[in-house]
């Protein structure tokens, strides 16, 4: 009986139970504090933004902020899929290679028309995600190994398809897409934020989202409770493949080309962004709000240090140290 009530609580949190939304009767300020305490990366992000605003007159301008959004968008798309997969307790190392394959297809298939090119790229992303997911749930091989193999193999597919050559886009509307903007805000930035919000909604408001946490928290318990574990895991890998396709296509529209080495190391940056956002590698916890904060933190650090003429070499060092420091702080906080 007790478990049934706690079940009801989680199920109804979103619906018509305002008392459960704010059980302690926090005001708006209290809510904000509570939110920040769950997503501390936004505090760090705010500090970075303030610091760079004083550090460079070019930083806090609409053009530059929109620029940061565009620069962050590609890792951002990938991090959406990665967050879902990591909440499940898995990892997807193929995203960088899949991005490259989808970008190559989106450019290379343009002779058959734009629709075929985009459809081909999206289909490739979906299929590779499906393949990863099915292998993970059917063979019982850990996702780290499955996708480590995929990272190497899919890069091979890219080289087989492109024959080691860079491909240049020929379709005008494909090239124009990346240039569309609403005021100072590029369509790629809009797509990034909209997808983040949509998938955060899915995560917090749908059954698939709730059960993703259950699977990551305790897989066998979720299975015993009747959660269709395999299906949810495969769906999240498919979403990750789709996001890699979105990242690849948008990147290709921006560059007007696709190179076979596109997206190298992106899987590592994506994991870094997601971990900075507070999602646990062990699964069961995390959110896209945190991930958005992590992605933007990386983008702001890169952009801000660049504007302050910090050499890109130092940026790599600082990003690495920030990651380790974040992990250290997180450990200290959770110890208490």
């Amino acid at each position: 009986m007790k478990s049934a009530t706690s079940m009801d609580k989680t199920m109804n949190r979103s619906a018509d139970a305002p008392t459960l939304e704010a059980p302690t009767g926090r005001g708006i300020a209290g809510e904000a504090l509570h939110w920040i305490s769950r997503h501390p990366i936004w505090l760090f992000l705010a500090a970075c933004v303030i610091f760079f605003s004083f550090g460079s007159p070019y930083f806090f301008t609409p053009f530059n902020l929109s620029n940061i959004l565009v620069q962050s968008a590609f890792i951002g798309f990938l991090s959406i899929g990665m967050t879902l997969i990591m909440i499940n307790g898995n990892i997807d190392l193929t995203v960088g290679s899949t991005l490259a394959l989808c970008a190559s297809l989106a450019v290379g298939l343009q002779d058959y028309g734009l629709v075929v090119a985009i459809a081909g790229a999206v289909a490739a992303g979906l299929l590779l995600g499906l393949l990863n997911g099915v292998i993970v749930v059917k063979t019982g091989v850990h996702s780290f190994i499955v996708t480590l193999g995929g990272l190497i193999g899919i890069r091979g597919l890219v080289f087989v398809y492109t024959g080691e050559n860079s491909l240049s886009a020929t379709n005008m509307s494909f090239l124009d897409f990346g240039m569309i903007s609403f005021g100072p805000i590029s369509i790629i930035a809009v797509l990034f934020v909209v997808l983040m919000l949509a998938f955060q909604w899915m995560l917090s408001r749908t059954r698939h989202g709730r059960e993703a946490y259950a699977i990551g928290g305790n897989l066998s318990a979720a299975e015993n409770a009747g959660v269709k574990v395999s299906r949810h895991i495969v769906i999240n890998f498919v979403i990750s493949g789709l996001m890699a396709a979105v990242a690849g296509i948008t990147m290709a529209t921006q560059m007007g080309a696709a190179t076979p080495n596109l997206g190298t190391n992106y899987e590592l940056w994506t994991v870094i962004a997601v971990v900075l956002g507070g999602t646990k590698l062990q699964g069961g916890a995390g959110s896209l709000w945190g991930t958005l904060g992590g992605v933007l933190t990386l983008g702001v650090l890169r952009n801000g240090m660049n504007l302050m003429h910090v050499q890109p070499f130092y940026v790599l060092v600082i990003l690495g140290l920030v990651l380790i420091l974040a992990l250290f702080v997180d450990k200290q906080i959770n110890k208490e």
């Binding site: 063979t139 193999g149 990272l151 870094i272 790599l316």
Partner: protein, 322 residues
């Protein structure tokens, strides 16, 4: 008698040694279509090419058996290779090698302190180190490539280019290192403690193992073998780019996994690692001899890695699918 029957049980043999059987079939197919494939010269060539990856993998195997990961070895290889090549002309080959080995150990110290003693997650720490060390390498060189001015006039070439008893020196270093570390892992109480920490860390602590020190030492070894690999690399190329080790961390893991060492820790041997690295090398070499472009090996590696681990978990589970 029953155990004897089990030993010749073919399906079980296929499951347990499937990857080796597949490998032997692969060797036979390539050998049938290429006369040079199974000659001593070619085999030594494959081992020589695999020796850099292999030497790194020796130390990383200790880390993996401890139940940890080390993604920093690729960047550490870049850093130490750049160091040994750059310092060669400045302070002479001997001191340069010494500084390089110390640098490798220092990387191990940082990883080991953060993971062993502060007990942070190894994947994230070494991911951070991957980025940090790549940055340090670039800061050191200012983004320029480094090279040895006169490669013919130095004994430094011995480690990467030399031969001893008709066998390339890198192969001696790789296999010699594997033998020494293999004995340490399999025959000493230190080795048993490494397995104990990886198998069940809490239990190992209760039985008096200093788990923190063991993890720390595994990262020291990983840093050291990476620096040794850097000496081979620098000596062979007599120059280095800033990102020469990029991607090696994943190749090393691929070789270790392929050999059959579990990423969960507590099991694995250095012989397995040598076999895994050799398989990767022979796949690359065999496909090139068959006339395929180099990237086809990546497709084969994809299938082989997943297939190998699948067979392994399936044989433990008793059936192919979950």
């Amino acid at each position: 008698m029953e155990t004897l029957m089990k030993r010749v049980n073919l399906p079980q043999l296929a499951r347990q040694q499937g990857i080796l059987i597949a490998f032997v079939i692969f060797l036979a197919v390539v050998a049938a279509s290429s006369d040079t494939f199974l000659t001593t010269g070619n085999i030594l060539q494959v081992l020589r090419q695999a020796s850099i990856l292999g030497t790194m993998a020796l130390g990383v195997t200790f880390v993996v058996i401890c139940g940890r990961l080390d993604l920093s070895v690729g960047s550490a290889l870049s850093l130490t290779t750049v160091l040994v090549v750059d310092l060669h002309d400045k302070i002479g080959p001997g001191p340069a090698i010494l500084v390089t080995l110390v640098a490798g150990l220092l990387v191990g110290v940082v990883n080991g302190l953060l993971i062993g003693y502060v007990r942070l997650n190894s994947l994230i720490v070494t991911l951070g180190m991957l980025s940090t060390l790549q940055g340090v390498t670039l800061i050191y060189t200012g983004g320029k490539n480094v090279s040895v001015a006169n490669p013919e006039a130095t004994w430094f070439g011995f480690f990467g280019r030399g031969h001893f008893l008709d066998i390339p020196v890198p192969v001696w270093i790789f296999l010699g290192g594997a033998a020494v570390l293999g004995v340490i892992l399999a025959r000493t109480s230190y080795g048993r403690q490494v397995y104990a920490v990886g198998g069940n860390e809490t239990a190992s602590r209760f039985s008096g193992v200093n788990a923190r020190r063991i993890v720390f030492s595994a990262y020291l070894l990983s840093g050291l073998t990476t620096a040794v690999a850097a000496v081979i690399m620098g000596s062979r190329v007599m120059g280095s780019q800033n990102n020469v080790g990029q991607g090696y961390e994943l190749q090393v893991l691929a070789g270790i996994i392929l050999g059959g060492t579990s990423l969960l820790g507590g099991s694995g041997t250095l012989l397995k690692t040598v076999i895994g690295i050799a398989i990767l090398g022979f796949i690359e070499n065999g496909l090139l001899l068959l006339g395929y472009p180099y990237y086809v090996q990546w497709l084969v590696t994809w299938a082989v890695i997943i297939g190998a681990v699948w067979l392994d978990v399936a044989s433990k589970r008793g059936r192919l699918f979950v």
